[in-house]
């Protein structure tokens, strides 16, 4: 086996086995910190040994065994130092193993612990990427534009809180499950959006590393909870958005809006997979949640081979359904964009203007107004709205697009 093959095997093992190793060790030793450190050491040992010894026949089992030995070594070392409090502080689960069927997986416990509502949102994101995603602290820090030391401290503090406050390592009860799943999905959606709408002057407009990681983790949760509608909905939403990724930014780094995208450049396999998931949920006849409706809206868009074939009345109807679940001004703004296609820009502008109080600090509000004013021939007001949108936007591709649009005004 060549050096490159071994390196590839290690990368693959890391992608497939990291969460499993951390989860199994947390279950066995009752301590996230020990599990994380031992897993990292096991992978470092693989990097050292596999090139000489060869890749073991079952890499996952090898890594779990090696990590367990490292963990036992550390616990022995600490016990020698008389760390008597350790045992009392261990994460624990005194419930007898429940017959959980499809969702009885240590990785699921790990995800729910990392996304616990007693942790701050940014902490949940960091902890999930580290413990479940296997990203290094430095990778997570650069993804969220913070110093590595600060990110390390955030993760260390989170692990300490989990231990001290005894955040349990278990899948929540059926009664709490919907709320807790939606907390997990919020974390994954945030990771995806941070990749898809990356902000910062020195940042690529789309961070494929983050979008890919969010999709990978959502696929994992989908595999663990195949019956959950919102999990399927979020995965479909991500896939249908990801399918348009390459068509969304031009060669010169400018945002290409949906109506101007080369639909032939969309990833047909991702579109097909997203559509399958949306159809699967529709077939259940169960009322859809927020992510399922957003996925359905994206399914309507991606079903049109030409923007002129878009079924706008269906899209507006889906937004109406969404507004009933989530009366947020951002949903209302997106609904207005669809209304412009169905009832014309004047009707849409009136709806957008009603959102001024809540959205005047949001670049998309001004960008939407600018576009509607342009279509109504009100160039002067349109220019002012573009100026405001450019001032507030953080994504480089979006700024380039808005600037060109403004400069094209008559």
């Amino acid at each position: 086996m060549s050096v490159i093959d071994v390196r590839e095997a290690i990368t693959q093992a890391h992608r497939e086995e990291w969460a499993r190793v951390v989860a199994a060790l947390t279950q066995r030793f009752g301590d996230l910190d020990i599990a994380e450190e031992a897993a990292a050491e096991a992978f470092a040992t693989a990097v050292e040994r596999w090139p000489a010894d060869g890749v073991p026949p079952n890499p996952g089992a090898w890594l779990t065994t090696t990590a367990s030995r490292k963990a036992i070594d550390r616990i022995r070392r600490e016990n020698k130092r008389g760390d008597k409090q350790k045992e009392a502080q261990m994460l624990y689960d005194d419930d007898p193993p429940e017959p959980l069927g499809a969702i009885d997986d240590d990785r699921l416990r790990l995800i729910f612990t990392c996304c616990h509502p007693a942790l701050a949102m940014e902490t949940r994101v960091a902890l999930t990427l580290r413990m479940v995603g296997g990203l290094t602290v430095s990778e997570i820090a650069s993804a969220f534009l913070v110093q590595e030391a600060a990110m390390g401290q955030r993760i260390t503090r989170a692990k300490a809180k989990i231990k001290a406050a005894r955040i349990p390592y278990r899948v929540p009860s059926a009664e709490d499950l919907p709320g807790r799943v939606s907390g997990v999905l919020a974390v994954l959606f945030l990771v995806y959006n941070e990749g898809y709408l990356a902000t910062g002057p020195d940042t690529d407009p789309i961070r494929h590393d983050l979008t890919a990681e969010a999709i990978r983790l959502t696929r994992l949760i989908r595999a663990l909870m195949p019956e959950d509608g919102e999990v399927a909905g979020l995965l479909a939403l991500m896939l249908l958005t990801e399918a348009r990724r390459t068509a969304r930014v031009s060669a010169s780094g400018e945002l290409v809006t949906l109506d101007e995208q080369d639909r032939g450049a969309w990833d047909a396999a991702l579109v097909a997979e997203g559509h399958r998931l949306v159809r699967e949920r529709l077939a259940t006849g169960i009322a859809p949640g927020r992510y399922q409706i957003l996925a359905a809206i994206n399914a309507v868009h991606t079903s049109a081979h030409d923007v002129r074939d878009t079924d706008w009345s269906q899209i507006v109807a889906l937004y109406d359904q969404l507004v009933r679940l989530d009366p947020s001004p951002i949903i209302a703004l997106n609904r207005a964009v669809a209304v412009a296609e169905l009832d014309g820009p004047e009707v849409a502008l009136a709806a957008v203007d009603r959102l001024e109080d809540k959205l005047s600090g949001y670049h998309a509000y001004h960008a939407t107004r600018a576009d509607l004013l342009r279509r109504l021939g009100r160039s002067h007001q349109s220019r002012a709205a573009y100026d405001k949108a450019i001032e507030l936007a953080g994504n480089t591709a979006e700024i380039a697009y808005l600037t060109r649009r403004r400069d094209q005004l008559g």
């Binding site: 624990y92 007693a118 406050a165 005894r166 955040i167 349990p168 709490d176």
Partner: protein, 107 residues
Amino acid sequence: MQYLVSVIFDTDGLATQDEMAAIDAFNERLEAEGHWVFAGGLASPSSATVIDNRGGEALFTDGPFVETKEYLAGFWIIEAPDLDVALVLAAEGSRACNRKVEVRPFL
């Protein structure tokens, strides 16, 4: 595992009769289900005295150790197997006393 559930409040005034009745019912439930350790309401922060005896001679200062808009109005100490259980109980406690609460684990 024990948790301190602190009751946070920001205006003068004691619990109303309805609040007291709800707190009593909640306390009885805590006792019946084995979560009860201790609980109490506190007089207003202006009745506090700070004592510093680190220097050998006790210094007494009138008033609370820190002046804040929000203050500790009372507390529960509860027994719970983990934070999930403690959070559910604290949420019920907050509804019963009609005030914000904070949950903090004992070492």
